[in-house]
């Protein structure tokens, strides 16, 4: 596959705006047509069991941004993963020996197909796609990350949720031996997150298994993590071991810890401040000390795909 390299000239600067939009539609149409021609399971996702190994059979996605991705160094050394420590530079150090095999994912709750699946079996029915997404942290910094993953909507469909399933809940592994942060009481472990079924079946969210075309580094949530690009980063639960279809709203860890500051929805919203800082602007990691911050976009710029999900919701109260 082709990995986009950061470049000074963005495609949008070369192509005229109309042609640029047409081109995007063309790619989108192609992707839809291509998707329907390939029989389900024709390209099964095989994730090698070795660190940062190259992934194959990755298709491009019309949902990818043209913005230059952050360096692998930025993405893999600056992130929050409290199970491996509270500092941004802790995960890269303490997750180094984290074991991602054998790995099982338990699917339970309001669905026709449930059970405990070996990671490799879990992945098989799905196709790998590269999705270059903006990632906006609730702490007012952001990155652009070239994820490789599988569509969460496809995963949800595969397990055939019943009409009772209104929410999808996720849980991270809780392993005191491997995760030094879990021995501390910074959060109520295991880490928990959830989405409404409408959010989970939207085409944008993915379960990511790779970055820059390679197996995802341990510190970024190996072997499999959630990515929901229009929500703050803490919704992106890492190292998932449980998926549960629920009729009631699941708990999510940061909301449990500080409900006044972190909600269930956590949609990126420049007009609703965090109680202790403004969310109007964000610092793009890697831009340098003197680069100015940029305006934060409503739904992190993914409004055209997701705004309709919240049209009847007061986003000030449901932060």
């Amino acid at each position: 596959m082709l990995i986009k390299k950061p470049s000074d000239i963005r495609p949008s600067e070369i192509t005229s705006e109309t042609n640029y939009i047409n081109r995007r539609d063309f790619i989108r149409a192609g992707a839809i047509a291509g998707g329907s021609l390939i029989a389900p399971g024709a390209i099964s996702a095989v994730i090698p069991d070795s660190r940062l190994a190259k992934l194959s059979n990755i298709s491009a996605s019309p949902f990818s941004t043209d913005e230059a991705p952050n360096s692998f160094e930025d993405i893999s050394t600056y992130n929050n993963y409290y199970e491996f420590g509270l500092g941004k530079d802790d995960p890269v150090v303490y997750a180094e020996d984290f074991k991602t095999r054998p790995w099982t994912i338990e699917v339970s709750g309001e669905a026709e197909k449930t059970g405990t699946f070996d990671f490799d079996d879990f992945m098989k029915p799905f196709d790998l796609e590269e999705r270059i997404y903006r990632m906006r942290c609730v702490e007012a910094w952001s990155m652009v990350i070239p994820w490789v993953g599988i569509s969460l909507a496809e995963v949800v469909k595969h397990f055939r949720p019943t009409s009772k399933a209104q929410y999808v809940a996720f849980e991270t592994l809780k392993d005191r031996d491997q995760m030094p942060g879990v021995r501390g009481r910074s959060l109520d472990w295991p880490y928990r997150e959830g989405l409404t079924i409408a959010e989970a079946t939207n085409p944008l969210p993915i379960l990511a298994v790779g970055i820059y075309g390679n197996v995802i580094p341990n510190q970024n949530g190996a072997p499999i993590r959630l990515v929901v690009p229009w929500k703050y980063g803490f919704k992106g639960i890492k190292s998932i071991v449980k998926i549960r279809f629920m009729s009631t709203r699941p708990k999510n860890s940061w909301n449990m810890a500080i409900p006044r500051e972190y909600g269930f929805y956590a949609n990126v919203n420049p007009t609703v401040s965090h109680p202790r800082w403004s969310q109007a602007r964000e610092r793009r990691i890697g831009a340098g000390i003197f680069a100015s911050k940029q305006e934060t976009l409503m739904f992190n710029g993914y409004g055209e795909h997701v705004a309709h999900l919240y049209k009847d919701l007061d986003l000030r109260r449901n932060y």
Partner: protein, 208 residues
């Protein structure tokens, strides 16, 4: 050389350089000479200056209790320098916030000052520290007489405001603010203890 000369010409320059070195390391890391800043360099610089400001207010407030316990009577000769370094690091922390983080946007700064209590606390500490720094010159100190001592008791308030500011700023992990809070409680606690002891009947102020 007598002791006072030794302090002035040997020890003060050494302590000065030691106190300055954290700032030199921030500068060195920013230019990739002594190390590297994190992927979020502005936050990194902000944190480091802020942390050093807190460490220096603790060190400064430790001078009196340490002298009393150890009878190292030369110790207070370093107090002004330590206090001015507290001001220096706090001010660098403020400047980093104002210039690099808030990007000199006055409306953003005003919103922060009025709507985010932890910033109000931090800013108050900066204002107090500025007053203490300005009045630290010997000439001003002499002119102020006994009011100087009263004014400089605000150093305790600066310590409280600083720790409180940090406590309210952290997302979840209060370990570090808690450590500062414990140190500050000890430093203020011994003063209060001595203050009570001094008030006890039967104790008389020794003749001056």
């Amino acid at each position: 050389m007598n002791t006072i000369q030794q302090i002035r010409f040997i020890w003060k320059p050494i302590v000065f350089l030691l106190c300055l070195s954290p700032a030199l390391f921030v500068l060195g890391d920013a230019f990739g000479i002594t190390g590297q800043l994190s992927a979020n360099p502005v936050e990194d610089i902000l944190d480091r200056f802020g942390n050093w400001a807190l460490r220096f207010i603790m060190i400064t407030l430790a001078v009196t209790p340490l002298r009393r316990l150890s009878s190292w009577n030369w110790l207070p000769r370093f107090r002004r320098m330590l206090g001015l370094f507290t001001f220096f690091y706090a001010f660098m922390h403020f400047l980093t916030w104002f210039v690099l983080d808030r990007e000199l946007r006055l409306e953003d700064v005003l919103e922060d000052l009025t709507e985010r209590p932890f910033i109000t606390l931090g800013f108050t500490a900066i204002v107090l520290l500025t007053a203490l720094a300005i009045t630290s010159f010997t000439a001003i100190r002499r002119r102020m007489g006994p009011r100087w001592q009263t004014l400089h008791k605000l150093a305790y308030a600066v310590g409280l405001l600083g720790v409180w500011h940090y406590w309210w700023q952290v997302k979840k992990d209060i370990t570090e603010p808690l450590i500062y809070a414990v140190i500050l409680s000890v430093l203020l606690g011994v003063r209060y203890f001595w203050h009570l002891k001094r008030k006890k009947p039967g104790w008389r102020r020794p003749p001056r």
